[in-house]
């Protein structure tokens, strides 16, 4: 945009404008690594002279860092709960949900346990991996299983969705509930199976610019980019549902 410079000049305090306008720091959930890296390049292209730096990690870790005073401009979390710890500490303005992620059943390509719907997971002979309830995909899985009225005994409650997916990829479990995005990124190594109850267990990804942001103007522009159609396209291409 041609009006970028003007916005920046008018919005930021004169003292820090020069320095802060050239660097943007984004803290984002690790599951956003690919999409945000791409959006970051887009952003840099649109704003010459601006360098976007990402800090990808677990949402909870990022939230800890932000509440301990990390110099971040934007926070994109993988769950509303972690975003809440940041807003509770009045570190961020009202967050916006920018995408949603839906669960799928992931099975190894040869599908050894012949799983094709959610209730197959309740079979005690089927080894199932779920995320732990403390992490978003685990909470979503519980919601989905409750909605289906199923009682599943998993062999493991994984720390995050990638770990869950790894178990499927290596054939250690016969099935797992993971995000659609993850199935997509592991193209070929796992097979995804949609199931209707997934719609009842959708995980929201909130984004917010932070109140102590060193570059508040750029932060706002980055959030706008993510929320824009251009941003949505990138995210949907990776398997996310538009918010």
């Amino acid at each position: 945009g041609s009006d970028d410079a003007g916005t920046a000049a008018s919005a930021s305090p004169a003292a820090s404008s020069a320095a802060s306008s050239s660097a943007l720091t984004v803290f984002a959930a690790a599951s956003l690594t690919e999409t945000f890296t791409e959006l970051g390049k887009t952003f840099e292209a649109a704003n010459p002279g601006v360098k976007v730096t990402f800090n990808f990690g677990s949402s909870a870790t990022l939230a800890q860092q932000i509440t301990q005073g990390a110099p971040a401009d934007v926070f994109a979390a993988a769950s509303p709960a972690t975003m809440k710890t940041v807003t509770d500490a009045s570190m961020a303005a009202a967050p916006t949900t920018f995408v949603r992620n839906k669960l799928e059943i992931a099975v190894p390509p040869d599908n050894p346990a012949k799983v094709d719907e959610l209730k197959d997971l309740a079979d005690s002979k089927v080894k199932v991996a779920l995320c732990a309830e403390q992490v978003p995909c685990g909470a979503a899985a519980i919601k989905a299983l409750d909605a289906a009225g199923l009682k599943v005994t998993p062999v493991t409650l994984e720390q995050d969705v990638k770990a869950t997916l790894t178990k499927v990829e290596l054939g250690e479990v016969d099935a797992a509930l993971v995000y659609k995005t993850d199935v997509l990124s592991a193209a070929g190594k796992v097979t995804g199976i949609d199931f209707p109850e997934a719609d009842k267990a959708i995980n929201d990804y909130p984004i917010a610019s932070l109140s102590k942001a060193p570059a508040p103007d750029l932060a706002k522009k980055f959030v706008d980019l993510v929320l824009s159609q251009q941003g949505k396209d990138v995210l949907v291409k990776a398997g996310f549902d538009a918010a």
Partner: protein, 251 residues
Amino acid sequence: MVLAVAGMTFLVLPLAGLLVRAPWSTMPERLAEPQVLEALRLSLVTATIATAVCLVLGVPLAWLLARVPFPGRRLVRALVTIPLVLPPVVGGVALLLVLGRRGLVGQWLESTFGFSLPFTTAGVVVAEAFVAMPFLVISVEGALRAADLRYEEAAATLGASRWIVFRRVTMPLIAPGIVAGAVLCWARALGEFGATITFAGNFPGRTQTMPLAVYLALETEPDAAIVLSLLLLVVSVAILAGLRDRWVTSA
């Protein structure tokens, strides 16, 4: 002296941070949860068994490295440090590749004995032992190299076979080194997270050790995570303070 105190402060100060931050008021009820004690018990049991496994396999390995010249010894010695350098999660993946249901050895284990390590308590022990063994091996090798070979010679002239020399002379002489190694090993096993969760998964009562419980608590309730960590610390510090000194005086 100043440096020593600085070093101590550096190690201990973060604990102070945790203590300041800890939610003392809700502490008792949080600790009373059965899952917490279950995880603590599991941690202590698996770390101890893993240490025993490391002693049984690691001390002879250290001896081999320190005493028996063989081609490629340098390489083997460096390879021993692999589990140290490997990020634990990758270590877990590597273990799965070998010992998992479809792993190189695991496949055979399953078809022959119908036995599969991942998602079992035994799997936790394997993961912990894998990650912690280098500490033992390297400490013990260092102690072996520092030991005076002439005592072993004296024992040989008295008719002791290599094994007896090792057991009755070398081992007691390097006891402090073995203790140091075992303590490192035990503590590392106790704090082990990445390889355990990757290889053995996380299931309360079976494979959920304290660090796993802490990690998951951190996701939602950082305060609870601090409480759990402090519990783990207090228990391990108490055990080490008790155990270590008894050893030191007897050595």
